[in-house]
């Protein structure tokens, strides 16, 4: 082994503690890069799987009337696998005016096709022979497995033209010269009877835009079908050039149509996709840059410290005739040895870290995505390779300067301890008031920082980066999610059911039944009477007048009357201390929800809409659908409140919610449309929802709509949680790098000053003074980084606000909480590091320390 290698290894071993610290620095950096790579590949795989489930696992589809022609086309080197399919035809199963899926579509698939299309069998099996069929549960309701089914399959046509199978339901409108509109809709033609045997039940996988529910039979080239056969091809190799070659080959094929599955191929990089690649690559590039910069700061620092501890030896080597290149290679060798160990370990840690994160995040993730794709650990070696490359570049950049410096170390440097010689009186000059205010200890602390300006600066930059990242990202997250959260937090119910019933009697029974569910905590059913009046006729509050004058409001004020069921109304009255005796039959007495929260021109307004004196007002009742005036009447607003009933949060300046019971407005009810709004607090929203659905699905003559706010809120919270896991995870890791850097700098700073500390103690510095000096140093570190960190953070917050307020109205709120938190965190961090590194030195024997030759 050559002498430089020996020397390098020996000095690494000699400085074991420091070697370990440097290795940990490299491991953290590499682990982060590897984590980014793994996360990217896992997410991309997830997206790709999702895409395949939604759209099928194929790359190109060829369609041609002649099957044999197609067969010849497929015989190409770039075709990896080919699977066949053919749409046999459609049969109508629903009324096109009532349903978005009027047809049943029967498609023939070969065996690979069933896999490529991700068709899932719930019961029975896939078709394996001609004439076997699988259908959805809904469509096979009348049959059982093994039954013979005859389907009358046809071709879709519009005005005599064939409608392609994958087109939506076709309607065209012609406007004649006299203005009459004639609508033409597509029809089914050329019906042919097919006999099938039902062999299985599948999950419904039909796409929303296709007007048909899917059923599948087994593909056979001898089948007579209404549509041309299609061959789905998977290409090999997955390169852009393959696609170009393929297009070239199929260029002049007559009668053949070709579909490229671009939404899938773009993820393989086979199609240039501006939006995706720039957005994704941009994001990843930014994150990688942040990691690199932080890592370079850390690794550079480690190497320069380890170098400075070896200055003397390098000087000796130099005096014995080592060349510059030899001295330089000492540093590069050290980096090389460390990398050999730290890079693989870092890569492994990154993968393990993401694997753990994904197992934690997956259940949350699944709760808000609807596909059956799973988010699991996927490692692409290409990306890991790239991460390794970036790590090597990072390390190389970090050791460049230390290596150059090593090559310039001369005999004199090592003998004379250049470090001290470099201090100039100017560079460590401190203002006089420092001594006055902070005493000698404070002054010494400041002079120390000034002496090791570079280290001080790098520590402060590390701290500043952490501060800025933390404050601005948490601000960004909270303002982004705050909006979503606030909306849900203002909701005072868990489940909302809208009922459209046919008779008042049946509605009453159903509502009673719903009210009596065991899951109900709180229940309110209400109906709405749409009404309006005009500002000019109303005693309005000054703020409303102002908004009206400034032209933000129309002439009319919406006055929806919420007619609440008696039980809920009585408890509402109790809540607001209302007088029940006022709400008698046909009294037309109502309570106004007289608090508005609204925004105009990016400004928020909160206040009363109406003057709070009871009054009577003329209103126009309007039809809930057409908006036509149905009746003119008088309403008595007898009381005002700022408490909202369930389902409402506040009024608006253009819309005041009026609340009353059924008795009071019995004569105003429109009984043509029996719409009921039911709001519930639930003991278990999910089971409750299922129960309601089952009950209402079985009922006849009722249409309904259910909104589970609680589960929506849960999903939003989970989404936010998942984002937060990643974002804060990232910040924590980046901060970890900074923390390592700070610990390194402070520890070595203190180590290098051991002798000086001993001198101070030998001339009579007390332990208390010593601690005071160290604390001052910590405070100066903390203060300097806050001094930079806070203004930069505020600036970024302002920028975030600027961009966010384009679309939303956001209250500009300085996140005092995070500022306080960060301040505490920074000071704790610096204090702990300082105390830790000083602890050993404090108990140093003065005489021993003075003898040291650092």
């Amino acid at each position: 082994m050559n002498i430089i290698k020996k020397f390098t290894l020996a000095s690494m071993k000699n400085n074991r503690r420091w070697t370990l610290v440097t290795a940990i620095g490299i491991i953290i950096s590499v682990a982060m890069l590897s984590a980014i790579a793994t996360l990217t590949s896992s997410f991309l795989s997830y997206i790709i799987e999702n895409e395949k489930i939604g759209n099928g696992d194929w790359h190109v589809r060829l369609q041609h009337p002649d099957q044999n022609e197609l067969k010849m086309k497929v015989d190409q080197p770039f075709v990896d696998t080919a699977s066949w399919q053919q749409v046999l035809g459609f049969v109508q199963v629903n009324d096109p005016d009532q349903s978005s899926k009027p047809y049943l579509q029967v498609t023939a698939l070969d065996s690979p096709g069933f896999i490529q299309q991700y068709i899932r069998v719930i019961k029975g099996r896939f078709p394996l022979a001609k004439g076997e069929i699988v259908m959805t549960e809904e469509q096979a309701k009348a049959y059982k497995i093994g039954d013979q089914i005859t389907l009358n399959l046809s071709l879709r046509t519009l005005n005599g033209e064939v409608v392609p199978a994958e087109f939506g339901y076709m309607r065209t409108q012609d406007i004649a010269s006299d203005g009459t509109i004639t609508e033409t809709v597509e029809i089914l033609e050329q019906a042919v009877d097919y006999r099938f045997t039902l062999v299985g039940i599948i999950e419904d996988s039909s796409k929303t835009y296709i007007p048909a529910i899917n059923a599948y039979t087994f593909y056979d080239s001898s089948l007579a079908a209404h549509y041309d056969p299609i061959v789905s091809i998977k290409l090999t190799p997955l390169r852009q050039s393959t696609l170009i070659e393929m297009k070239e080959v199929y260029k002049n094929s007559e009668n053949m149509s070709m579909t490229v599955n671009s939404s899938l191929l773009r993820y393989y990089g086979m199609i240039d996709n501006q939006e995706i690649s720039t957005a994704l690559a941009g994001l990843i590039a930014i994150i990688v840059m942040i990691v690199m910069v932080a890592s370079i700061a850390l690794i550079y620092n480690s190497f320069s410290i380890s170098l400075s501890q070896r200055t003397r030896q390098l000087g000796m080597l130099s005096s014995l005739g080592a060349t510059k290149a030899q001295k330089r290679s000492n540093v590069f060798l050290e980096a090389f040895y460390l990398s050999m160990f730290a890079i693989p370990v870092g890569i492994l840690f990154g993968i393990i870290g993401i694997s753990l994160t994904l197992t934690f995040v997956e259940p949350l993730f699944r709760s808000f995505v609807t596909t059956s794709a799973t988010l699991k650990l996927v490692v692409w070696w290409q990306l890991i390779f790239a991460a390794t490359g970036i790590s090597i570049i990072t390390i190389a950049l970090s050791v460049w300067i230390p290596a150059l410096r090593a090559s310039h170390i001369s005999i004199m440097d090592s003998l004379m301890q250049r470090k001290d010689i470099k201090i100039s009186a100017r560079s460590i000059k401190t203002p006089r008031w420092i001594r006055w205010i902070f005493g000698l200890e404070g002054d010494l602390a400041l002079k120390n920082l000034k002496r090791s300006k570079k280290r001080f600066r790098s520590t402060v930059i590390s701290l500043t980066v952490s501060i800025v990242l933390f404050i601005s990202v948490s601000y960004f997250m909270s303002s982004l999610f705050g909006l979503a959260k606030v909306e849900y937090e203002n909701t005072n119910y868990d489940l909302y059911v809208q009922l459209l019933d046919s008779t008042a009697e049946s509605a009453t029974t159903r509502i009673d039944r719903l009210r009596n569910s065991d899951y109900v905590n709180k229940f309110q059913s209400s109906r709405i009477i749409s009404a309006r009046s005009y500002y000019e006729e109303l005693p309005i509050a000054p703020i409303t007048q102002q908004l009206y004058n400034e032209g933000f409001l129309a002439k009319s004020l919406q006055l929806p009357i919420i007619v609440i069921d008696d039980i809920s109304f009585n408890s509402f009255l109790e809540q607001i201390n209302g007088n029940p005796s006022m709400f008698t039959k046909d009294s037309n007495n109502v309570i106004a929800l007289n608090i508005a929260k609204d925004s105009y021109n990016n400004k928020r307004y909160t206040g009363k809409v109406l003057d709070e004196n009871p009054f009577t007002v003329n209103v126009e009742l309007t039809h809930s659908e057409s908006g036509e005036i149905t009746k003119n009447t008088k309403l008595n607003i007898v009381s005002f409140t700022d408490k909202a009933p369930m389902g409402y949060s506040a009024s608006m300046f253009f819309r005041v919610v009026l609340i009353t019971n059924q008795e009071s407005v019995a004569s105003l009810m429109d009984n043509e449309i029996l719409r009921y709004d039911i709001y519930m607090e639930s003991k278990n929203d999910q089971l409750h929802e299922v129960e309601i659905r089952e009950y209402l699905n079985e009922s006849d003559g009722v249409r309904f709509f259910i909104n589970n706010m609680k589960s929506e809120y849960r999903n939003i919270s989970n989404t936010i949680l998942v984002m937060e896991v990643f974002v804060y995870g990232f910040i924590i890791l980046i901060s970890l790098i900074s923390v390592m850097n700070i610990i390194n700098t402070i520890t070595t700073n203190v180590q290098l000053r051991r002798k000086e500390f001993a001198m101070l103690r030998s001339v009579g510095m007390t332990p208390q003074s010593f601690d005071k000096m160290v604390r001052f140093e910590s405070v100066f570190y903390g203060l300097s980084s806050l001094m930079f960190g806070f203004p930069i953070s505020l600036l970024i917050i302002a920028l975030i606000n600027q961009t966010m307020s384009d679309g939303f109205i956001v209250d500009v709120q300085i996140p005092y909480g995070s500022f306080v938190f960060v301040t505490l965190l920074i000071f704790t961090l610096v204090f702990i590091t300082m105390s830790y590194s000083v602890a050993r030195i404090r108990s140093d024997n003065i005489v021993d320390a003075l003898k040291m030759d650092i």
Partner: protein, 227 residues
């Protein structure tokens, strides 16, 4: 008047086989205004003794009284305060604080006490030591002899009961050494300053009032001279 009394001081380094007895039951006392030289071969325990007298190292056993105070009965803080007020240490390698200028280095023991020494005493001291024109320089801008004079000034600034110097001229040429030694003599005469000085230099020792010889951690002779 007795300014220093050493009672049965021993210092033992290490344990068992590796044990080194650096000081072996040493006792003596020094009167105010004495100029004492400590001599002995290398490794005889001179520096060890001086550090123990200076309150920077603890004896394994025995007591040290400076100005009637049992210094090792004091706790660490009290000892530090005692050091800066009553003891002045001078090392072979100056041991100045690199980030403080000459003036601040000299005043350091006083500054640590949050006091300003009398300006006249300070001016007198720096004039005597011939460093008045170097007050605003940093230690690394001074020659070895100058640095040593600064460290002497630092040792004297609080008018300590005892000045202890460990081979103060070991790093200096003959010219510089004799200047420094004359300084010590001068200070001794002018301020009645008690001085203990370790030296290998026979001429320096000849200048002292009293020569204590150490060997293997023991005092082998204690010779009071009349000049």
């Amino acid at each position: 008047m007795e300014i220093l009394r050493v009672e049965n001081c021993s210092k033992i380094y290490g344990a068992k086989e590796a044990q080194v007895i650096a000081l072996n039951d040493v006792s003596f006392s020094v009167k105010q205004g004495e100029f004492v030289a400590i001599v002995g071969p290398s490794g005889s325990g001179k520096s060890t003794l001086l550090h123990i007298l200076g309150g920077v190292d603890r004896p394994t056993s025995g007591k040290v009284f400076v100005d009637q105070t049992d210094i090792y009965a004091l706790n660490e803080s009290k000892l530090a305060i005692f050091r800066r007020r009553h003891l002045g240490l001078i090392y072979q390698f100056y041991n100045l604080i690199p980030i403080l200028d000459v003036q601040e280095n000299i005043m350091l023991p006083a500054l640590l006490d949050r006091q300003r020494p009398s300006q006249q005493h300070f001016d007198d001291l720096v004039a005597t030591l011939a460093i008045s024109n170097r007050l605003l320089h940093l230690p690394n801008q001074l020659s070895g002899g100058q640095q040593q004079r600064v460290s002497i000034a630092r040792a004297l600034i609080n008018q300590p009961a005892l000045v202890l110097a460990d081979e103060p001229t070991g790093n200096l040429d003959r010219q510089n050494s004799s200047e420094i030694i004359s300084l010590f003599r001068l200070l001794n005469r002018k301020y009645k300053q008690t001085v203990l000085i370790i030296t290998h230099d026979a001429t320096i020792a000849q200048n002292a009032d009293r020569i204590i010889s150490l060997e293997d951690g023991k005092i082998i002779s204690d010779e009071v001279r009349k000049i």
